[in-house]
């Protein structure tokens, strides 16, 4: 089923919860969701309860179980002492979050050549590159020199850019005319099975 709209509503509740330290009332949710009828709010709330995003306590008041960022909230809202297990959960990140810091500017690239084998990047590997980073010496970059794209270490010598291959077979390159950097390599992914 498509949970996208529901997630957006959950995010709105979360924002409210974070800023005012309490759950919104139904009439506040009316405004929050931008809908006209309370019935619509009830339906969305019921769906969120079904999905385990919200919960109703004995008095029928809403309790956030996992509002948009499930793990962070767990230890915060339950009454009583949080269990150690729950506290551990607070700091979990997904592999995506671990590898990627700016999701909008990150792209995949499949490596074909052997210019970086000594750096541990082999043909067939998938590298993650970020577009909006200024390269620093020591970074691995995707660069275009003389109309050829290549993976190289970025370095500077006497103020000039030097591109070094991670493979003794290839010489250093000192780009003379044009140098285009398509992005900086931030991670390398190799799947074995």
């Amino acid at each position: 089923m498509d949970n996208e709209p529901l997630r957006r509503y959950a995010e709105k509740i979360e924002r409210f919860y974070m800023s005012s330290k309490r759950m919104p009332s139904y009439s506040e949710m009316l405004k929050l969701f931008g809908v006209r009828s309370k019935n619509a709010v009830f339906k969305k709330v019921r769906a969120m309860i079904d999905q385990g995003i919200l919960e109703k306590d004995q008095k029928g008041k809403l309790v956030p179980l996992a509002v948009a960022r499930p793990l962070r909230l767990l230890g915060l809202v339950r009454a009583g002492f949080p269990s150690p297990a729950e506290e551990e959960l607070q700091d979990i990140m997904s592999l995506d979050e671990y590898l990627i810091s700016n999701p909008q500017a990150t792209f995949l690239l499949k490596v074909e050549g052997d210019s970086m084998v000594d750096a541990g990047i082999q043909p067939g590997d998938l590298v993650l590159i970020q577009k909006n980073l200024a390269p620093k010496p020591g970074d691995i970059v995707v660069a275009r020199v003389d109309n050829e794209w290549t993976l190289k270490y970025f370095d500077k010598a006497k103020g000039n850019v030097v591109l070094r291959a991670g493979n003794k077979k290839y010489p250093e390159i000192m780009p003379r005319q044009e140098l285009v950097i398509a992005g900086v390599v931030i991670a390398n992914v190799r799947k074995y099975r």
Binding site: G34, Q104, A105, L109, E112, L126, V142, R144, T150, V180
Partner: protein
């Protein structure tokens, strides 16, 4: 005319419009295509989007590939890769949302933003904020956008069209009258050729002439919409930026062009039925029901014929519409003509699951049809779209619809671990390193 307002931005609305979006995405992920004439739409035989380099050579949207190739022999023709375009689109909207929460996704490549009140937060003018959004999109996605900033959606859209591609134009309140003095009427979104012709008869040539007239004139000549546009063009924000995701559908349509054109009855009918199935699947996914169905067939020479019919009640079951679509098809189809596209539009849509049966309906049968549809949806969600389908649509699968060269690049070489139905949601660069 006099100044409309002394203030700069009583409210600040921006319109962001991607430049040649599909072609730009292709050029962003394949740097080798930068600066070259690129078009998408190979699988349809017609150009869906042309890069600015192609436009400069006279190639534009809607013309046939063969004709385009004559205009521009070195044209790069690519099949559409909607998966990649959607990722770029989603990314663009998330970049914009980092700056302001009030963003309307107007289309896959267009956004309206309400920036009102953000000056203090960013300690910057509205122009500077709009420019930094534009720069962020360019830096992170490597596609260009054109940005218009003004006091209403209509004015903002007017501005974004002004300096395309990679344009920026801001129209503060106290300069509206200057800019609109020479602005031709047809630039305004909402003024079609007929409206322009009508206004010309009243001696109105430029937009300023229109808003110079009293509001009663707008009302008399163009009615309610005329008044709304009159106010919007004077810098009043009538159409609000709405951050609600488009959840309301007035109609659902599915059209597909196929090559080569065909005059085989069963083939064309299978295409039509497949469109009908897809439309009904979308209907059910959004929990909607429709009552009116329109079927049309388009011939090779782009002329088309269509016909419309009503059910006696709302429905979302594919099998309710099949006999009607088949009936219309028989009346439209003639075997001496070649067809290149079929289409289905479902309209008169409601989100109430009303089940009023009339006297001659068979409620048990209606229930069963609904059960069949939901069973089909469950099977297809587990095993792939159209795994179970109505028999008349089966021919579509047998004649493999696209030769390999017309498949988008992202579908031809899967990454390890990817399946035909599930790809990593990160654009894959098309550079050989």
């Amino acid at each position: 005319m006099n100044l409309l307002t002394l203030s700069s931005y009583p409210q600040a609305i921006a319109h962001i419009d991607c430049d040649a979006f599909f072609a730009s995405c292709e050029q962003a992920r394949d740097a080798g295509l930068k600066g070259r004439p690129v078009v998408t739409g190979k699988e349809r035989g017609i150009i869906a989007c042309a890069s600015y380099e192609a436009k400069a050579r006279g190639v534009s949207r809607g013309i046939r590939l063969g004709d385009a190739k004559k205009l521009c022999p070195d044209l790069v023709i690519l099949p559409s890769d909607y998966e990649t375009y959607s990722i770029y689109s989603e990314r663009m909207f998330s970049i914009i949302r980092r700056f302001t929460p009030l963003v309307e996704e107007y289309s896959i490549d267009e956004a309206f933003l309400d920036l009102t009140g953000l000056r203090r937060l960013y300690r910057a003018s509205y122009e500077e904020i709009a420019k930094s959004i534009k720069e962020a999109v360019i830096a992170e996605l490597d596609i260009t956008v054109s940005v218009g900033l003004s006091l209403s959606k209509t004015l903002a859209k007017l501005c974004s069209k002004e300096n395309k591609p990679n344009g920026f134009m801001a129209m503060p309140g106290y300069r509206i009258h200057e800019y609109l003095k020479t602005m031709p009427l047809e630039r305004v979104c909402g003024f079609g050729p007929n409206t322009v012709a009508l206004l010309n008869k009243y001696g109105i040539k430029a937009v300023l002439d229109y808003i110079d007239r009293p509001v009663q004139f707008a009302e008399k000549a163009l009615g309610k919409i005329g008044v709304e546009l009159w106010r919007e063009l004077r810098g009043e924000s009538v159409y609000k930026v709405s951050d609600e995701k488009k959840e309301k559908y007035l109609s659902i349509s599915k059209t597909k062009t196929f090559v080569p054109a065909s005059r085989d009855r069963d083939t064309v009918k299978a295409r039509l039925m497949r469109n009908l199935e897809s439309a009904c699947i979308k209907l059910r996914r959004h929990k909607l029901s429709a009552r009116t169905i329109t079927v049309y067939l388009r011939q090779q020479d782009f002329s088309g014929r269509g016909m419309e019919a009503n059910l006696n009640r709302h429905s979302q079951a594919t099998l309710d519409f099949v006999p009607i679509a088949a009936g219309i098809f028989e009346r439209l189809f003639s075997s001496d003509k070649y067809y290149r596209a079929t289409g289905v539009i479902l309209s008169d849509i409601t989100d109430q699951g009303i089940d009023r049966h009339d006297l001659f309906d068979d409620p048990v049968r209606i229930e069963k049809l609904a059960d069949i549809s939901s069973a089909m949806d469950r099977i297809n969600s587990a095993y792939g779209k159209h795994t179970v389908h109505i028999a008349a649509a089966g021919l579509v699968d047998r004649e493999s619809s696209h030769p390999r060269s017309e498949l988008p690049w992202r579908k031809t070489g899967l990454l390890p671990g990817e399946t035909a139905r599930k790809h990593i949601g990160i654009p894959l660069m098309k550079i050989r390193v």
